[in-house]
């Protein structure tokens, strides 16, 4: 299902019988503008539109009697391929203890996402343990404890202990209680904060997680590329969660993150409540980005 912007590009092309290279170039410029306005990083846009232009200049489009339709199909396919090309199931095992770590910039929605994942996986039969390993934000522990309590899901916390001590303590408790899914909340941090990125690496080394989720805000602009690249470089996260998708941001950051890391977006946050978590749909995201 195509969006308004796509219709506009399509209709402009449809006016022509067969397409010239100029027609294609103009349509590609339209797509470029649409993606930039949707917050896709300009480097990702250049790469994407170059690929589209190359395919669009092929015989298929130039000799087609419905070239407009062909062009739109190419764009949509390229986009959906990029969005969903890396899809893979989560590496969580049925009969043992699994560990996931959530990381990302300040305010991206990690703590909320931890509670959402806990509920999601409990519904699938897991026994989650939430871990309040953000030892620096004022009332971060309170926040996770309140969320866990409302869901009836245990939260491991140890006020006054350092982050790594909390992680070790949590793993220990998880093992003795038979938790099947340890979900570790971490403090928001800048990708350029060497000390905090170092701490994050240490958390991952200690936790040996099965999945590391990079949590990103859907309204992030051009900077998404820099942040994702750096986080990936430091901790090789295995999945992303795109939050606040219930907003009206086009979400181009998703394309940037996917393009620059090759790591799949596994979930999207669609609200503030703990049940507001959905599995990522590449097709839907592609339409949304194109506006």
């Amino acid at each position: 299902e195509l969006s308004h912007r796509f219709d506009a590009i399509f209709n402009r092309l449809r006016g022509h019988g067969k397409l010239s290279e100029d027609n294609i170039a103009e349509a590609v410029r339209d797509v470029k503008r649409a993606l930039l306005e949707a917050d896709v990083n300009y480097r990702v846009v250049k790469k994407f539109t170059a690929a589209v232009q190359e395919k669009a200049l092929g015989a298929e489009v130039l000799q087609s009697i419905t070239p407009g339709q062909q062009f739109v199909k190419i764009v949509h396919n390229e986009l959906t391929q990029l969005m969903g090309g890396n899809e893979r199931p989560l590496k969580l095992h049925a009969n043992r203890m699994n560990v996931v770590v959530l990381a990302g910039l300040q305010g991206s929605g990690k703590t909320t996402a931890c509670a959402k994942l806990a509920l999601y996986f409990r519904k699938q039969g897991h026994q989650p343990l939430l871990v309040a390993a953000d030892t620096q934000r004022p009332a971060a522990i309170d926040q996770l404890e309140t969320l866990g309590k409302a869901l009836g899901i245990p939260v491991y916390a140890d006020r006054g202990k350092k982050t790594l001590q909390v992680v070790e303590g949590a793993l220990s408790r998880a093992r003795s209680e038979g938790s099947s899914l340890v979900i570790i909340d971490t403090a928001g941090r800048l990708h350029i904060d060497i000390e905090m990125m170092g701490e994050l690496k240490e958390i991952c080394n200690a936790a040996r997680p099965d999945e590391i989720f990079f949590v990103a805000d859907a309204m992030t602009g051009q900077d998404a590329v820099n942040v994702a690249e750096q986080f990936y470089h430091e901790i090789h996260f295995t999945g992303s969660i795109l939050t606040k998708m219930d907003g009206d941001a086009r979400g181009g950051a998703a394309l940037s993150i996917l393009d620059v890391t090759g790591v799949p977006i596994q979930f999207v946050g669609v609200g503030e409540k703990s049940d507001a978590l959905e599995v990522f749909h590449p097709e839907r995201m592609a339409s949304r980005i194109l506006g």
Binding site: N41, D142, Q143, L144
Partner: protein, 277 residues
């Protein structure tokens, strides 16, 4: 050399990329480049460094929005802080409180976010850290009623400044925008001169969606100023330029970290220098 012919398409294209990568947005970036070409012609600019400085000067011009401060502020001076989720409202309030306390003002913080887990406790900690008074009810209480209580308490305790923290809310959620509108009405009914400031907090990492945020919040409440946070990251906060141009709203403060002192006055040349130094 010296006419517009001395700079080729690649030069302008590279500048345009730099503008776009700073989140200035496609349309404004194009306008800036057009303005730059005009200025290069007018001033017969011949070298790349000079052209670059001319572009920065153009950007600074975009950001100049003036609004006079009160000479004799009423008491309590009421600041309502709003914005979408996770942008840094609560932390910014702590920083502003600290700054005001440093100037000898008495400050009260009102916990009007009664929705999010841990929100009241988070603000209470900032009140403690800054030696500010604190007023709250309980999780799930009616937000407007806490705002009312805070107004009454601020007057009763004769505080200089009352800062109200509100829940993050996405601007496309009609019920949440109705709620903040109701909170504003309750404040106004209680004290006609209040609120004296309505600050919208915007995250510097936000892309073009910031335009929609400002549009809606401004439409519903009438924003008096912006705070741009998280400029200590690598995001350039370029969307501030389109915001200044479109809404003529002053940027009052910028957030440059998570600490109590990490708040600065907005300064246009400094902002642009940090963006394109």
């Amino acid at each position: 050399l010296g006419s517009e012919g001395s700079f080729d398409d690649d030069f302008y294209s590279a500048l345009e990329d730099a503008l776009i990568s700073a989140d200035i947005g496609v349309e404004l970036s194009t306008n800036i480049i057009d303005g730059l070409k005009e200025r290069i012609r007018r001033d017969k600019i011949a070298t790349a460094p000079e052209a670059y400085e001319a572009m920065k000067a153009l950007l600074v011009e975009q950001l100049q929005v003036h609004r006079l401060d009160e000479d004799f502020p009423p008491k309590p001076w009421v600041i309502l802080v709003v914005g979408v989720n996770g942008v840094g409202k609560t932390t910014t309030i702590g920083k502003i409180a600290h700054e005001l306390r440093g100037k000898g003002k008495s400050v009260m913080l009102g916990a009007v976010d009664t929705f999010r887990a841990g929100a009241i406790e988070q603000l209470r900690i900032w009140a403690e850290r800054t030696g500010s008074e604190f007023i709250a009810q309980h999780d799930g209480a009616d937000a407007a009623s806490v705002a009312f209580d805070a107004m009454e308490a601020a007057r009763a305790r004769n505080v200089d400044v009352l800062i109200l923290d509100t829940a993050g809310r996405l601007h496309n959620k009609i019920n949440l925008m109705n709620e903040i509108e109701k909170i504003l009405r309750v404040i106004r009914r209680n004290t006609p001169h209040a609120p004296n400031e309505i600050l919208l907090v915007v995250d510097a990492t936000t892309g073009q969606n910031a335009m929609k945020q400002v549009a809606v919040f401004n439409d519903v409440l009438g924003i008096t100023g912006l705070v741009i946070t998280k400029l200590d990251g690598t995001a350039k906060g370029g969307v501030a330029l389109a915001l200044a141009k479109t809404y003529r709203l002053p940027i009052k403060k910028i957030g440059v970290g998570e600490g109590i002192d990490d708040l600065q006055d907005f300064n246009a040349p400094t902002y642009i220098e940090a963006m394109f130094g």
